[in-house]
């Protein structure tokens, strides 16, 4: 039986890595990948806590998050592709057309 603290630490680590990745990386693809990490860190915590509390709700929430993550990835990558086609780049710094 894996202790709950280990699960929580893993989840927090994953979340933190994902968060940092989203905030500091300049490549859109990497940013999306980081976002996945972030979401999955949350999933780990949800599932782990669900198990600890002997409740299916954690797993059910995790499933919702996975579905949302899939949708997000599908839309996100489509956007990245379109963006890339226009700018010949996936660098997020070039994406400043709305800059005031």
């Amino acid at each position: 039986m894996i202790p709950i603290e280990a699960v929580l630490v893993l989840g927090l680590l994953l979340f933190a890595i994902g968060l940092v990745g989203v905030l500091v990386r300049k490549n859109l693809v990497v940013m999306l990948m980081s976002l996945e990490l972030l979401l999955n860190g949350a999933n780990v915590i949800l599932v782990g806590l669900g198990r600890r509390l002997a409740s299916p709700r954690g797993a059910i929430f995790a499933l919702f998050v996975i579905i949302m993550a899939v949708s997000e990835a599908a839309v996100g990558f489509a956007l990245v592709l379109a963006y890339f086609r226009q700018k010949k780049s996936s660098d997020v710094d070039a994406l400043d057309d709305l800059k005031g």
């Binding site: 968060l19 989203v22 905030l23 500091v24 990386r25 300049k26 940013m31 997020v92 710094d93 994406l95 400043d96 057309d97 709305l98 800059k99 005031g100």
Partner: protein
């Protein structure tokens, strides 16, 4: 039947004026015009015969209601139903007038064929001539003052068109305008008189007016006022003092026009009108005296001006004015038939004189100045003979037309007891004889004074011109016998024929008195002729020249037409111009000043508005804009455009929310 009389000239005028002017040959134009005049004359003769046979003294033919019956307020405070029809009235007076108009008109149409043969506006000329005939016939046939006025204006218009026929010449165009405008003054009086009759009686029907007067429905003062206003119209149309000045200038028109319009027909319209309304004038009495005095003074006054004229046509023009004055004497003493009788005989011999003068002018290729004529008796003997007949007739030589009519007028004037009028009339008649023979002697006797080149070209006129002259000459001789007085074995048939239309008039003079009067006027005329012979043939005009030198001021005054033209020009034309200048000044200074002032005020106000607009309104709007700009330029710095900045903001925001949530709960 008689409605056809004016119809033919109208058709002729329309055919020549609308179609012929572009598409008819000269021959067709002339044939159309003469046929129209001829058919009209035929209709007039047929109507005349019909009138002689019928027992009815007058026939009225109503074509349609022109102004439908409508209530008008009349002077006594009542209401009357005024109705004006397009109606024609044919009676003895209309018969005489239509015969004169169409008869003389036809002869002048024929004469014009020759006289105007070389004119380029042939169709226009004949169209006007037919139109004039139509208008004149409407005038004499009108059964009420409305229809009469249509004709009255119609002849005025045609007179204007024909005087100004050669409108390329300044003097002709101006003469046309002068005639028209002078006539407008008279027409204004005519309209006022008609309006007064509507107001006083509620009718303008000629029979209706006479009937109303017979019933005593008209006050004496009103009758006098209406009659005098109408007579003002007559002085304009018939060229009497004070509105006569246009007629001598009207000689700018072609000579046949002078003969037809300004001698035989249109200028006698005033005489006709007064005779037509004899009931009104007789009732007034005062108006009748004014008519007689105006005629008498005009007769002498115009004759004096004829003494000094050197233009052959102008002598005849003044003679016409003087002769019409004589007709007005006849009317003014109540002898309406005598006035109309003289109108008819005058139409014969005056149109003869004008046409013969036209023949003289034609022979001399346009020369009108008698000082450059002389000795033409041998060159154009046929013209000379008819001219002499006309001159004898107008002078009142016994046996010719003028003698009978003139004598009847003078006898009536004497019988009326107004010896001033009679004396002036007698003087006018004697002066007529003098200036007519002055004209004859200057033109046909003595040495030839025309330029040598013109002399070679002197030629007798073509038959188309001479034959109408011959017919008119015959009429000028025999035309008087229809009114042969009882004294000379006649029956005064003319006066009896006219009596139903103009009322009977008896002079009441004894045969001896009448004979004495006749002898007196004949003696005066013969003396005048002899005097003219002595002065202008025996002494070659020497006494006349000496007289002119001796009495220079008088001579100049008369030959400048007593400066009446200058006076009218100064007072009326100048007055109108001055009034125009005053109105112009008021317009510029007062009206324009007001308008400009308003505009200036508006500009000043609007400048204030601009200030407010730019300062306050625009300031507020721009201030709002500038405030937004300032705020937004601060805020725009937040919009870095970098995703990770936004993401960081989201994270920090979430962290803040969680912190608050934890702290609170």
């Amino acid at each position: 039947m008689f409605v056809l009389i004016p119809l033919f000239p109208l058709l002729g005028a329309a055919a020549n004026g609308l179609v012929g002017i572009r598409w008819f040959s000269r021959r067709a134009v002339g044939a159309t015009a003469v046929a129209a005049a001829g058919l009209s004359f035929g209709a007039a003769v047929a109507s005349f015969v019909g009138l002689l046979r019928s027992a009815e003294p007058a026939v009225v033919k109503t074509l349609f209601a022109w102004i439908p019956a409508s209530l008008v307020r009349t002077a006594p405070g009542g209401l009357a139903s005024l109705r004006v029809d397009l109606a024609f009235r044919y009676d003895a007076l209309a018969a005489v007038m239509t015969l004169v108009v169409t008869g003389v008109g036809l002869l002048i149409h024929i004469y014009s064929l020759g006289y105007m043969a070389h004119d380029k506006s042939y169709a226009r000329y004949f169209s006007y001539l037919n139109l004039f005939t139509f208008a004149m016939l409407v005038l004499v046939l009108g059964a009420n003052l409305g229809v009469l006025f249509v004709g009255w204006e119609g002849v005025g218009l045609c007179s204007y068109l024909l005087i100004g026929f050669w409108f390329g010449k300044d003097s002709a165009a101006n003469a046309g305008k002068k005639a028209f405008i002078t006539n407008r003054v008279g027409d204004f009086g005519f309209l006022l008189g008609t309006g007064l009759l509507v107001y006083a009686l509620g009718t303008i029907d000629i029979a209706g007016i006479a009937a109303a007067i017979g019933r005593g429905g008209l006050a004496k003062g009103t009758a006098t006022a209406a009659a005098l206003l109408l007579f003002l119209g007559a002085t304009g149309k018939s060229a009497q003092i004070p509105l006569y000045t246009w007629l001598p200038d009207a000689m700018e028109g072609p000579t046949p026009v002078s003969a037809l319009i300004h001698a035989a027909t249109m200028v006698t319209a005033g005489v006709y009108m007064v005779a037509r309304l004899h009931a009104l004038f007789s009732f007034s009495g005062t108006a009748l005296t004014v008519v007689a005095l105006t005629g008498a003074f005009t007769a002498v006054y115009a004759a004096t001006m004829a003494f000094v004229q050197t233009d052959i046509k102008r002598v005849l023009a003044y003679s016409t004015i003087s002769q019409i004055g004589l007709m007005f004497i006849g009317l003014g003493v109540g002898a309406y038939a005598a006035g109309i009788f003289h109108l008819m005989t005058h139409a014969f011999f005056k149109s003869l004189l004008f046409l013969a003068a036209g023949s003289v002018i034609h022979a001399l290729s346009g020369e009108q100045d008698m000082r450059r004529m002389g000795g033409l008796r041998a060159r154009i003997p046929r013209t000379y003979r008819v001219f002499l007949i006309g001159a004898l007739a107008i002078s009142g030589v016994p046996g010719l037309a003028g003698f009978f009519s003139k004598d009847e007028i003078l006898a009536s004037a004497f019988a009326s007891g107004n010896y001033l009028v009679w004396a002036l009339g007698l003087a006018g008649a004697a002066m007529t004889a003098f200036y007519m023979f002055r004209l004859i002697f200057m033109t046909f006797f003595g040495e030839e004074r025309f330029a040598a080149k013109a002399g070679e070209l002197v030629h007798e006129s073509p038959p188309a011109m001479l034959n109408p002259l011959r017919i008119l000459a015959v009429l000028a001789v025999v035309g008087g016998y229809v009114g042969l007085p009882r004294l000379l074995g006649g029956g005064a048939w003319f006066a009896r024929f006219l009596a139903p239309a103009t009322g009977a008039h008896e002079t009441g003079l004894s045969g001896a008195t009448e004979m004495l009067l006749m002898a007196g006027s004949v003696g005066a005329a013969l003396a005048a002729i002899v005097a003219a012979y002595v002065i202008y043939v025996k002494r070659r005009g020497e006494p006349a020249r000496r007289f002119a030198e001796r009495w220079q001021t008088l001579y100049r005054t008369v030959s400048r037409k007593y400066y009446v033209d200058e006076f009218y020009g100064k007072v009326f034309v100048g007055g109108a111009l001055a009034a125009g200048r005053i109105a112009d000044w008021v317009d510029r200074r007062v009206i324009d000043g007001l308008v400009d002032g308003t505009a200036r005020l508006a500009r000043r106000v609007s400048r204030l508005a601009i200030f407010f607009d730019e300062g306050a309104v625009d300031g507020a709007v721009n201030g709002v804009g500038r405030a937004h700009l300032a705020v937004s330029s601060a805020l725009r710095r937040l919009q870095t455009g970098r995703i990770y900045n936004y993401a960081l903001a989201v994270v920090l925001g979430v962290a803040l929310v969680i912190t608050i949530a934890v702290a609170v709960f």
